[in-house]
């Protein structure tokens, strides 16, 4: 069968598109972490208002749960994945760097004191901005801008208000874009 140059170009375009459709598989991570951090922040905020000494209980329960769920999803994804895209590779490295940075910041929270959450919000903004730019999803970019604004404000407010800013930051940077990503994933399927 003789192929015209146009048919060949169409085939190339179609194959490139089909190979790149797997970008949306990461939606569970954004939804899990977005929900966990938002709920834990709000629980601590409410408990602090009620002078409850166990105000960090939300973090103690939700962070290990989110970590466990993430490990389950990574395992599931690794089994399912039959290809690795260049962008996925870059984003994996970015998330690794983010994890290390966040760990260093959080274990030094005693030294950073009230500066901890603003720095965390900056880290969220960086990771979300890079994800959004790489995946070309504007909801992430908007979320990252909101996180940067929240970070800038958080340096000047009380710990309780920082918790609300953190909740708002992850809502716009992780949870809402994550849900949108899931929708795109379903549409592409």
């Amino acid at each position: 069968m003789e192929n015209t140059p146009q048919q060949q170009l169409d085939l190339i375009a179609q194959m490139i598109k089909t190979a790149q459709r797997r970008f949306y598989d990461d939606s569970p991570f954004y939804i899990i972490w977005g929900s966990a951090v938002m709920i834990a922040s709000l629980i601590q905020y409410v408990l602090l208002l009620n002078h409850n000494e166990y105000n960090a209980i939300g973090w103690a329960i939700l962070i290990p749960t989110a970590t466990l769920l993430q490990l389950v999803f990574i395992r599931k994804q690794q089994k399912k994945a039959t290809s690795k895209t260049h962008i996925e590779q870059v984003l994996n490295h970015m998330w690794f760097a983010f994890g290390i940075s966040l760990f260093i910041v959080l274990i030094n929270a005693n030294k950073l004191q009230l500066n901890t959450y603003p720095v965390v919000l900056c880290l969220y903004a960086i990771s979300t901005y890079i994800s959004g730019s790489a995946l070309k999803i504007s909801a992430f970019i908007v979320g990252s801008i909101i996180c940067w604004i929240a970070a800038a404000i958080a340096f000047f407010v009380s710990f309780e208000t920082q918790l609300l800013l953190l909740a708002a930051g992850v809502l716009f940077a992780y949870l809402i874009p994550g849900i949108l990503l899931r929708k795109l994933e379903k549409e592409a399927a």
């Binding site: 140059p5 179609q14 194959m15 190979a19 039959t82 290809s83 895209t85 260049h86 996925e88 590779q89």
Partner: protein, 98 residues
């Protein structure tokens, strides 16, 4: 003058495989089979031809208990693909390349 199209890439399946591999870091055999809808036998033959030309690299390993074939494009393959698409463009818009 039209440049000659690379005969190795001027086949539907081989071009489809190279186009898939150009857009990913690496791909498993099952991914190529799923996306091209071609038979396993046909894909194996074409992968072999592309490997002999050093356009792609094939690695054989195991995923659990099952054998796994992973393919990735080489620098030579990327260059061949680039030249091929440029030549195709020349055929479509000949005036631009005179």
């Amino acid at each position: 003058m039209f440049k000659e199209l690379d005969p190795l890439l001027h086949s539907q399946l081989r071009l489809a495989i190279i186009s898939l591999l150009i857009s990913v870091e690496e791909a498993e055999f099952s991914f190529i089979k799923e996306k091209t809808n071609a038979s396993a036998g046909n894909i194996s033959v074409q992968l072999d031809k592309l490997q002999q030309a050093h356009y792609i690299k094939i690695e054989k390993s195991f995923k659990g208990k099952y054998p796994l074939t992973t393919c990735s494009i080489t620098q030579k393959g990327i260059k061949a693909f680039k030249d091929y698409t440029q030549t195709l463009q020349q055929y479509i818009q000949p005036t631009k390349n005179k």
